[in-house]
């Protein structure tokens, strides 16, 4: 690899969305040689064939242990690989573990060159985690709404209320019991299930 050429980066991630977010970020930052591996079968063979300078892997991936094998002296390895660790730089290890990503680099690649890649990786992984959390919140809000609608229907039928009155009853009960409307609605559904 020439000193100025873009290092070849492999992303090992079973999440296609997160890998795409990371890949896009790397390309925007000028790293053009990015390959994504999502299939864990024959992972090592694929990595050896691609011969990357940097390997990024998410920490939820059990195949991370497979990569550790690359540190071992073996006939199969053409270039020694090391984990991106720096005894003096505990903060960056902490940040990458917190973000859920780990980096392996070819021995000899300069630290100044890998640092921006890892930093970008950490910020993109964190951005993905935030997105995921928002998505989960949105999903659970949607779930809540479905439950509330069904509970309203039960109250309207049993107590002869209008939709608005049913909602007001749910809300005031939730406030009195210091619970969420969704929880009160769920207990109505459970109770009506039991009383069927």
């Amino acid at each position: 690899m020439g000193a100025e050429s873009s290092p070849k980066i492999v992303i090992v991630d079973e999440s296609p969305i997160r890998a795409a977010i990371l890949e896009e970020g790397l390309r925007e930052a000028g790293f053009t040689g990015v390959v994504h591996i999502s299939e864990m079968q024959s992972l090592l063979a694929r990595i050896y064939a691609l011969d990357p300078d940097v390997i990024l892997i998410d920490l939820e991936n059990p195949s991370r242990d497979v990569l550790e094998q690359m540190f071992q002296v073996s006939r199969a390895v053409r270039r020694p690989i090391a984990m991106f660790v720096d005894q003096s730089d505990a903060a960056s290890i902490q940040a990458s573990v917190d973000a859920g990503v780990s980096a392996y680099i070819v021995d000899g690649l300069k630290k100044e060159r890998i640092k921006p890649i890892l930093d970008l990786c950490i910020s993109r992984f964190n951005a993905f985690a935030k997105l995921q959390a928002e998505l989960d919140r949105a999903k659970s809000a949607l779930e809540d709404r479905k439950v509330i609608d069904r509970a309203k229907g039960i109250l309207m039928k049993l107590k002869g209320l209008t939709e608005d009155e049913a909602y007001v009853l749910l809300r005031s009960t939730a406030m009195r019991e210091k619970k969420k409307i969704g929880e009160i609605a769920q207990s109505i559904l459970t109770a009506s299930e039991l009383l069927k």
Binding site: M40, Q41, S42, L44, L59, E60, N61, P62, S63, R64, D65, V66, L67, E68, Q69, F71, Q72, V73, S74, R75, M83, V85, Q87, A90, I93, Q94, V97, S102
Partner: protein, 389 residues
């Protein structure tokens, strides 16, 4: 301390003492609030323990030693005051390799020397007809699984680095890889051997207790610095794990222990399969042949939970034999100091000299008797090795 103790584990039966200690209330009885965190890779457990996200962890014994020596990763001194697992690994091979070995064997099929010699003949025949080398899966470069496989095959004359391929695979992938022909055999802990047998894709060839009478596989690991700052907490954790191991050891408690371990957030496999391991009675082939081994369990019998520095020395010797570590008296001393029987004794109020197993009781089926005082001499007795100059 703020918040609960964070304790990492990998879903394997040898995390039993930790899981039961928490879920059956032995930890709470010691005044501990413990959050068990299930992990997917040994690398994650090691890193999270090293940087302090975990206070303690279920860890491969050789990783605790490698971390203390700075092999393959950042150097962080680790101490192991409690053995979690002995002899729970097995070597499982595909039906095709099993048939090939049985076709070549002369002698008892449970005799590891007989199977190793048969394997050597199978390997030689494959080489002669230009077939691909056999591939064996194990769970981590610094693992007893790796060393046990290598020890066994090298005794029969098979060079693990030249004559076959050794690959790391996560335990849950072993069965699939065996079924798809990606690997021909593997060494892994329970319950993954039984799962392969139940699926009809593998035969258990050996319990590793056939190969070594005692081999420390998993330990309760903490950072050395943490152990110094948190002595009462560590002692309480050791006691809780000890009580849990005692509980599991009682036959009448095994069904309950198996149910606890089977929960989805713990090991997450069928309780019946887990109980087979706890009982030490395993189905070894898809046609239903059962095999029992008194050596298989050793949860806490014979003081097995008490760390024995001779075991650490043996593991270090394997690292040196296969080129992962250089031989030096300092490194040997560091490795042995990882296993801390003194912390175990203090926590349990034992005098150091009670119920101690005979030192150096590795009991390998081949090679010179192991002497921690002469690792170089011991290693020189092996024909196949990768000693660093």
């Amino acid at each position: 301390m703020t918040g609960p103790l964070q304790v990492g584990f990998i879903p394997l039966v040898d995390a039993a003492a930790l899981i039961v200690a928490v879920d059956k209330g032995f930890a709470a009885a010691e005044g501990l609030d413990v959050a068990l965190v299930r992990e997917v890779s040994w690398s994650n457990v090691r890193d999270k323990l090293n940087i302090g996200l975990f206070d303690a962890a279920h860890l491969l014994a050789p990783v605790a030693i490698a971390s203390s020596l700075g092999l393959g990763h950042v150097k962080v001194p680790i101490v192991a005051p409690f053995n979690l697992g002995f002899n729970r690994n097995s070597i499982t091979v595909s039906p095709a390799l099993h048939a090939a070995i049985m076709g070549e064997i002369s002698g008892d099929r449970f005799d590891p020397m007989a199977t190793a010699l048969a394997l050597a003949r199978v390997v030689a025949a494959r080489c002669k007809r230009g077939a691909e080398p056999l591939t064996f899966g194990m769970t981590f470069p610094f693992s007893t699984h790796n060393y046990q496989l290598r020890f066994w095959m090298a005794a029969g004359g098979v060079d693990p680095d030249e004559d076959v391929r050794m690959v790391v695979l996560p335990p849950p992938y072993m069965g699939d890889s065996l079924a798809s022909g990606q690997i021909d055999g593997f060494c892994v802990g329970a319950p993954w051997n039984s799962i392969a047998v139940d699926r009809g894709v593998g035969h258990i060839l050996h319990f590793v207790s056939d190969i070594l009478v005692r081999a420390a596989e998993k330990v309760l690991a903490v950072r050395q610095s943490w152990s110094e700052r948190n002595q009462p907490i560590l002692a309480a954790l050791i006691r809780a794990a000890f009580r849990a191991a005692e509980f599991i050891e009682q036959p009448e408690n095994r069904a309950e222990a198996a149910r606890i371990l089977a929960r989805p957030e713990r090991i997450g496999v069928d309780a019946e399969i887990i109980q087979r391991t706890l009982d030490g009675r395993l189905k070894i082939s898809p046609d239903g042949v059962m095999r029992e081994s008194g050596r298989f369990r050793l949860a806490d019998r014979q003081g097995a939970a008490r760390p024995d520095p001779a075991q650490a020395a043996w593991l270090y010797a394997q690292m040196a034999r296969w080129g992962q570590a250089s031989i030096s008296p300092e490194a040997l001393k560091t490795a042995m100091a990882v296993f801390r029987p003194d912390l175990y004794d203090t926590a349990l109020g034992l005098r150091g000299d009670t119920e101690r197993p005979a030192p150096g009781s590795i009991g390998a089926f081949a090679g010179a008797p192991f002497d921690p005082a002469d690792v170089a001499g011991y290693l020189a007795s092996f024909k196949i090795s990768r000693l660093k100059p």
